[in-house]
């Protein structure tokens, strides 16, 4: 009799768990948007780094640690982007799965002060975005098998949207003459974009926002820009634009607009979703390249 009561109680306990939405925490806004697109109303996503934030140098608050502890699933982009994530996970006591969205991507490397490091900004190529979506669908289906069909359908739809964006980018870049496909920007985060769509990016500082530029590097970059006749410059919403304005002044280049690379804008801003951000970046950069 008592065992029957105990069994009934345990089943009662188990039932509500699958009815509530999956509590997912993503490391930054771009990833959070992708998870939201796939998850739909079955997943409640929150982002640790907020809109216009910088995912390289995030300083978590105790509230973030608490959210992490209560999460069912944690998404990171990986490839060394979120250097602060390991310590935060450990501090918060989260013991669940950590989904690395960039798993399976063909990475590119870069020389940085003599060191070769892996470029973490994989999402700036829409084709890589499709890989991210695949990993997200897999992870969500594993955590919430009942919603697997919905995730797969959302994933297919979203991946198709991203593939179309990929095609759009190629098409737009093709309208720019090959010798003019150069962009000047303040953060070297467009490596994958450049490789995928054939655009050359010039920048004064390396990947991390913490490195300080030297006079020699700045001078070389000015020379290079003058030699390559770049006429528009871009700064990211998450970086200090003073240095880039200095370089642009020496080379008589003009501002080409604000690019969103590592963070989405606020919901009422110009880049509220990953797809919108990508399309906008392509449009702005192609317009600038045509002026070269």
């Amino acid at each position: 009799m008592r065992t029957l009561a105990a069994l009934i109680l345990t089943f009662l306990w188990a039932v509500p768990a699958s009815a509530k939405p999956v509590d997912a925490v993503a490391s930054f806004t771009v990833l959070a948007d992708m998870v939201r697109q796939v998850g739909g109303d079955r997943v409640l996503v929150s982002s640790l780094v907020g809109p216009n934030g910088d995912p390289h140098v995030f300083e978590p608050s105790p509230d973030d640690a608490r959210r992490l502890k209560q999460a069912d699933l944690v998404f990171v982009s990986g490839l060394g982007l979120e250097g602060w994530m390991d310590r935060l996970i450990e501090a918060s006591g989260y013991r669940g799965t950590i989904v690395v969205a960039s798993e399976g991507i063909r990475t590119r490397a870069m020389e940085e002060d003599g060191k070769r490091i892996i470029d973490p900004h994989a999402w700036n190529s829409a084709a890589n975005g499709v890989v991210y979506v695949g990993n997200i669908v897999k992870a969500l289906s594993a955590a919430d098998p009942e919603g697997a069909a919905q995730y797969a359908a959302n994933g297919r739809r979203y991946a198709e949207e991203l593939r179309q964006l990929d095609g759009y980018a190629r098409q737009m870049v093709a309208t720019v003459p090959p010798d003019r496909r150069k962009v000047l920007t303040s953060h070297d985060a467009f490596g994958y974009f450049g490789d995928a769509y054939g655009v050359k990016f010039l920048a004064p500082v390396g990947f991390s926002t913490e490195s300080e530029a030297s006079a020699g590097t700045v001078a070389k970059l000015i020379d290079q820009i003058k030699a390559e006749h770049v006429t528009a410059y871009f700064f990211e919403n998450s970086n200090d634009p003073k240095l880039i304005r200095q370089i642009a002044r020496a080379t008589k280049a003009e501002p080409g607009g604000e690019l969103y690379v590592e963070a989405l804008s606020k919901p009422d801003g110009p880049a509220p979703s990953y797809a919108a951000m990508f399309r906008r970046n392509v449009d702005l950069m192609v317009a600038a390249m045509k002026r070269n």
Partner: protein, 292 residues
């Protein structure tokens, strides 16, 4: 060989606007901050600069809350906070038995904690001070004008209050006895300190602003026996460090701020050992006294 020397030292400044602006900024900083650094050193307030770089946080935070990421608002807020801290510590050291170094420590720690509180409860995770503090390579004409103006005002003001200020340093009792308002001059001096430092932070970053204020002053101590002599030596050391540091940053690709401050440190170390006026060698192996 002359051509090689020209290429190495003069050519970078002739070719690049940003190098010229950086050099002029160093000149302004040397003339403005050098003498002030000497007085800070003599009054045992050498760590004030570093403390002030933290003390400006609540002002910058309030400026950010009011006007967003506006350098004007944040700079003005920082100035107000810095002034409040400096003046408060000046007043407390007059009114109680604590000396200036202690009262300053008390004020700046409270200010820093307040700043962190404001940022954590209302701000985003953008590192405000990182945005507010500049780098010498990114200095533009407006910042240069501001620095020039502040240097001019500060040099003239220091000249005007020089006599009562020195008297106040050496014999405050006498100054009180003859009816001079010692406190007033001391407070004017503190205002000049904060003005130079906050402008320096915004234009050049904390390392350079504080480094070029204190290190040349410390080096000058070992060469000149009089205060005006020390001030001149400090300004000379500061400008020389700026020049050499910029050239080193250009030739060897070193980050500019640290290169300049390390050059100043090298001057300081050399002065420690070789200085005529109380340096290490002269102390241990004194010259023979004049006979009869």
């Amino acid at each position: 060989m002359i051509a090689g020397l020209y290429q190495a030292t003069v050519a970078p400044f002739v070719d690049y606007g940003f190098m010229r602006r950086a050099l002029v900024a160093c000149l302004a900083l040397s003339i403005g901050s050098g003498p002030i650094g000497v007085l800070l050193m003599l009054r045992r307030m050498s760590l004030v600069g570093d403390a002030l770089s933290h003390a400006v946080l609540p002002g910058a935070a309030v400026g950010f809350l009011i006007a967003g990421l506006s350098l004007w608002a944040m700079g003005l807020g920082g100035l107000v906070a810095g002034l409040a801290v400096a003046l408060l510590s000046g007043l407390v050291s007059r009114a109680t038995s604590l000396r200036e170094d202690a009262t300053f420590a008390g004020s700046y720690l409270a200010s820093l904690a307040l700043g962190v509180l404001i940022v954590s409860t209302h701000g985003s995770n953008i590192d405000l001070l990182h945005v507010l503090f500049g780098t010498i390579l990114a200095i533009d004409d407006n910042a240069l004008d501001l620095m020039g103006a502040i240097t001019s005002v500060s040099a003239v003001a220091l000249a005007a209050i020089y006599r009562p200020l020195i008297l106040e340093c050496f014999d405050p009792g006498f100054l009180r006895a003859v009816g001079g308002r010692g406190s007033l001059y001391h407070l004017v001096f503190l205002v000049l300190v904060v003005l130079n430092l906050v402008a320096g932070f915004e234009a050049l970053g904390t390392l350079m602003a504080v480094g070029l204020m204190m290190l040349p002053a410390l080096a000058s101590r070992f060469w000149a026996p009089t205060v005006p002599g020390m001030m001149a030596a400090a300004a000379a050391f500061a400008f020389a460090s700026g020049l050499i540091g910029l050239i080193a940053s250009y030739r060897f690709g070193l980050p500019s701020g640290p290169a300049i401050v390390l050059t100043a440190s090298a001057f300081y170390a050399a002065s420690l050992v070789l200085g005529r006026n109380g340096g290490f060698l002269r102390r241990w192996w004194p010259r023979p006294h004049l006979a009869a």
